[in-house]
């Protein structure tokens, strides 16, 4: 299907959509559509045929039912901060943007839960619950921009997920709109399931199973005592060893993050400069939290000792809430600051067993050196979740080739260490090619079959996550009706 653009005469589909959401909220002009051609990872580009921005749940349902009746594929999109090209809609596909569905429906303080629409921005939910002594624990670095719907779809993680768990651990119930326009209610406010754990299955399905229209999240008490440490190292290897030492000691910090030198410098050059030592090979940001101030201090001291033993040059404690905030802002905006290094960026998201970190890190920098490339690593070290990003200028074709070869080598290093290809960004379009490296044809087929239970015609967000050519085909069994 090809929808024609013209400012004066909207296509029939655009007209029908406008009848539902109002003409202002349908975007058909090419200029408006190109702004939706990318998400947070601009290496992929797809221009949607039409963009529609429903303003209420009812409008959203009507839009999806209309598309179902016309057999038009569609892609849900939150804030478009995804890092795997998941929110892109190509030719013949309508993009449904959920940013206007941004109401917090209900906050239940006694039961520590909130019900939100999918377009609520992560940090705004926490801001709304803070006065009640509660917060929404998963804190992706993009939290000031990304939506809860996008978090659910990607099973987003964040620095504090080391202790508090990723998105999947905080979603109690979901209302989901399937491709055929029917609504299903998954999970219950208490977290117990009606049958199999379909909430767990939906979380992380990258918008391939339907649209989350209403989300019940668990809220977590704000910790009463917090200590934030900044340790700096003169070699990447010793920093990695510091991480391993903490994990092996059985300490579970609230967060345990690493940043390498190139990353430190990009941050220090930005408005988010946090006072990280520019000459360090790497810094670790460690946070310990809990109820009891004495216990937190004791644990923080233990961590500081472990880090010094591992070879930290200095270990410093944030002296005030303001300093803590600054240390975290630097970390959270680090990815955004990469634009200072060069125009283009390859973003990786591998996970390795934590004991393998020192070796894997050393190998990665070795690879970069061999190819003459700049790797900047800012990552969730406590989970072994690496983001070795390569900065380059895509206008140089030879360079681009080198970058690709190096990326592939880095990825196979991580897989060989027992790791996986994505820890939080999802597969989307970007990691499709890596899927056969970790899953056999049968397992990929199982995923495809699972998707078809929710979306038999593969009309929601087609062509993502599972590389169809690599699947062993399963009998296609539609949902019973």
């Amino acid at each position: 299907m090809r929808l024609l653009y013209s400012m004066t005469a909207p296509s029939p589909l655009a007209r029908d959509l406008a009848a539902i959401v109002g003409a202002k909220h349908v975007r058909e002009a090419l200029a408006a559509r190109v702004t939706y051609a990318m998400d947070g990872l601009p290496t992929h580009r797809r221009v949607p045929d039409l963009v529609v921005l429903p303003g209420t749940r009812e409008e959203l349902i009507a839009v999806v039912r209309l598309l179902a009746a016309l057999d038009v594929p569609f892609v849900p999109r939150g804030a478009g901060t995804g890092l795997s090209g998941g929110a892109l809609a190509g030719e013949g596909t309508v993009l449904i943007v959920l940013t206007r569905l941004n109401r917090i429906v209900r906050i239940d303080r006694a039961n520590r839960l909130a019900v939100v629409e999918p377009g609520v921005v992560n940090a705004k939910l926490t801001a709304a619950t803070k006065p009640l002594g509660l917060h929404y624990a998963p804190d992706p670095s993009s939290q000031t921009a990304c939506t809860i719907g996008g978090n659910v779809a990607e099973n987003a993680g964040g620095p504090h997920c080391l202790k508090y768990g990723v998105t999947a651990n905080h979603i109690l119930a979901l209302e989901v709109l399937l491709a055929d326009g029917s609504l299903v209610e998954l999970g219950s406010p208490g977290g117990e399931t009606w049958g199999p754990d379909l909430v767990g299955v939906f979380v992380g399905s990258e918008g391939n199973f339907g649209v989350a229209t209403r989300i019940t999240v668990r809220l977590t008490p704000v910790p009463r005592a917090v200590r934030t440490l900044l340790a700096d190292f003169t070699s990447i290897r010793t920093a990695g060893e510091g991480v391993s030492a903490i994990i092996a000691a059985g300490i579970v910090p609230a967060a345990l993050e690493m940043m390498d030198q190139s990353c430190i410098r990009a941050v220090e050059d930005s408005v988010y400069a946090a006072g990280y030592p520019r000459d360090a090979a790497a810094v670790l940001l460690v946070e310990i939290d809990g109820r009891n101030a004495d216990a937190v201090v004791a644990e923080a001291d233990a961590v500081a000792d472990l880090l010094r033993t591992a070879g930290a040059r200095t270990v410093r404690t944030a002296a005030s809430e303001a300093e803590r905030e600054r240390l975290w802002q630097g970390r959270k905006k680090a990815f955004g600051a990469m634009g200072r290094l060069s125009r283009d960026l390859v973003v990786q998201d591998a996970v390795v067993p934590r004991s393998a970190l020192p070796d894997v890190l050393e190998t990665i920098y070795g690879i970069a050196q061999r190819y003459g490339l700049v790797v900047s690593n800012v990552f969730h070290a406590g989970d072994g979740n690496l983001h070795p990003n390569i900065s380059f200028d895509a206008t140089d074709p030879a360079l681009k080739q080198r970058v690709e070869a190096a990326s592939a080598e880095i990825m196979s290093t991580c897989i060989a260490a027992g790791g996986t290809i994505t820890g939080e960004h999802g597969v989307g379009l970007d990691k499709l090619r890596y899927m056969p490296l970790i899953f056999d044809a049968e397992s990929l087929g199982a995923m495809q079959a699972l998707r078809r239970v929710f979306d038999p015609e593969e009309r929601v967000n087609p062509g993502k996550v599972v590389p169809v050519h690599a699947c062993r085909e399963w009998a296609s069994l539609a949902r019973a009706s």
């Binding site: 200029a31 702004t35 939706y36 941050v267 408005v271 955004g336």
Partner: protein, 413 residues
């Protein structure tokens, strides 16, 4: 204009954008519509497409979304990559203006508000009309009634007094008068002269100065803006006295005259420009001298052109701190644009009101007695919004409050 390093006219300022999206929630127009095409990141994409030639400057949808940008630059200070959005935007707007010309409405407005002869008459009428009290009574949300509200919001207290000299010898400073500020807010100029007087400045007048050119620049009329800038640079001469500005929008552009004109003289001029609050607070942030207590709740609404464009955050707060009893109430989202943005309120009323509505709602909840803001456009926009919404809060320039406190303290003759 900015014949930048690579000769890309300002577009090079956008190169650093990595599409992270951190600017989305800082953008008032995105908050109003949720539309990527109304967001900084989306507009950067449009400007890049324009530079590459993928989209033309005459593309109506491209212009539509770039026209809807307030130019408030709320997106710049949150950007970790340091994208120079404002510079890119001016480059893009110049191309659009070249392609389709400037709208008749914008032309008319510029002519009425900034051309020396005409505007004098316009402001004279406006002041007379204002004095009848009719605008205040007619204020509302409709296009015309909103304009009434804007005019009503320019009303100041009528106090013609002079500062007693306190410090000697006084340092010289030169006042920039501007167009609207001079036409409708002369009381702010008066307060500026008096409060600076108390704080040791002898404020001098400069003949031959003209409009700063900001409205023209925002409309893509860079050449006209440059012409005005040249006149001002010449008028203020080569001295080293600070040039004091009490309109944030004017100050923002004047500080960038060097960039605009691409010559050193402009650079030196820009370096002399100070917001009135900067001078009052002093470099060491010790000032200004304290006044008498004023028992009021004040909400400070930092103008985008002061906070984002000039990076002046603390000095205005020093003014409030110099007034005992005055209680500063914090309003969520105060740093977000009010939707005024020069001619924007006139040219894009729908988006402008949508952006304003959020701010008015929060002001209604916090209900301060006074909103203080240091830019004529913002004063008019917020004032009109409050009047339309039936909120009794008044809008005043921070120096007016300090001026009141000095008067109450008996510092004036």
């Amino acid at each position: 204009m900015r014949e930048g390093k690579e000769g890309r006219g300002g577009f090079e300022g956008l190169d650093a954008c990595v599409h992270c999206g951190f600017c989305l929630q800082a953008c008032p127009t995105f908050l109003a519509t949720g539309d990527e095409a109304d967001s900084p990141r989306g507009r950067i994409e449009l400007m890049r497409a324009l530079e590459r030639g993928d989209l033309t400057a005459s593309d109506p949808a491209l212009a539509y979304h770039l026209d809807r940008c307030l130019g408030c630059r709320g997106c710049e200070p949150v950007c970790p990559s340091g994208v120079q959005y404002g510079i890119g935007l001016e480059a893009a707007r110049q191309r659009i203006a070249e392609a389709r010309g400037v709208s008749r409405l914008a032309r008319l407005a510029l002519w009425a508000l900034t051309s020396p002869k005409v505007s004098r008459v316009v402001y004279w009428f406006a002041r007379g009309f204002r004095a009848t009290g009719i605008p205040r009574r007619l204020a509302g949300w409709g296009r015309l009634r909103f304009a009434m509200g804007m005019l009503a919001a320019t009303q100041g207290g009528e106090m013609r007094t002079k500062a007693r000299k306190v410090l000697s010898p006084p340092s010289p400073a030169l006042l920039f008068r501007g167009c609207v500020q001079q036409g409708l807010f002369s009381h702010v100029h008066d307060a500026t002269v008096r409060t600076l007087g108390v704080n040791g400045y002898q404020v001098g007048e400069v003949k031959g100065q003209v409009c700063c050119g900001a409205l023209h620049a925002h409309a893509g009329l860079l050449d006209e803006a440059r012409a005005l800038a040249r006149v001002n640079v010449a008028a203020f001469g080569e001295g080293d006295e600070p040039i004091v500005v009490n309109s944030a929008g004017c100050g923002a552009l004047m500080k960038e005259y060097g960039h605009l004109l691409c010559h050193e003289q402009g650079e030196r001029f820009g370096a002399r420009v100070r917001d009135v609050t900067e001078l009052l607070a002093g470099d060491a942030m010790r000032g200004p001298i304290g006044g008498a207590p004023l028992d009021m709740h004040v909400a400070y609404d930092p103008p985008c052109h002061l906070l984002h464009a000039q990076g002046v955050a603390v000095p205005p707060l020093r003014l409030f701190a110099a007034i005992p009893l005055l209680e500063l109430v914090s309003v969520p989202g105060a740093a977000e644009c009010c939707g005024s943005a020069g001619l924007f309120t006139l040219l894009e009323p729908e988006m402008s009101r949508a952006v304003l509505a959020a701010k008015i709602e929060r002001l209604r909840e916090t209900a301060p007695q006074v909103v203080a803001t240091g830019n004529p456009g913002c004063q008019m926009q917020i004032g009109a919004g409050l009047a339309a919404a039936g909120v009794a809060t008044r809008v005043r320039h921070p120096v007016e409050l300090l001026d009141d406190a000095y008067r109450a303290a008996g510092r004036y003759e």
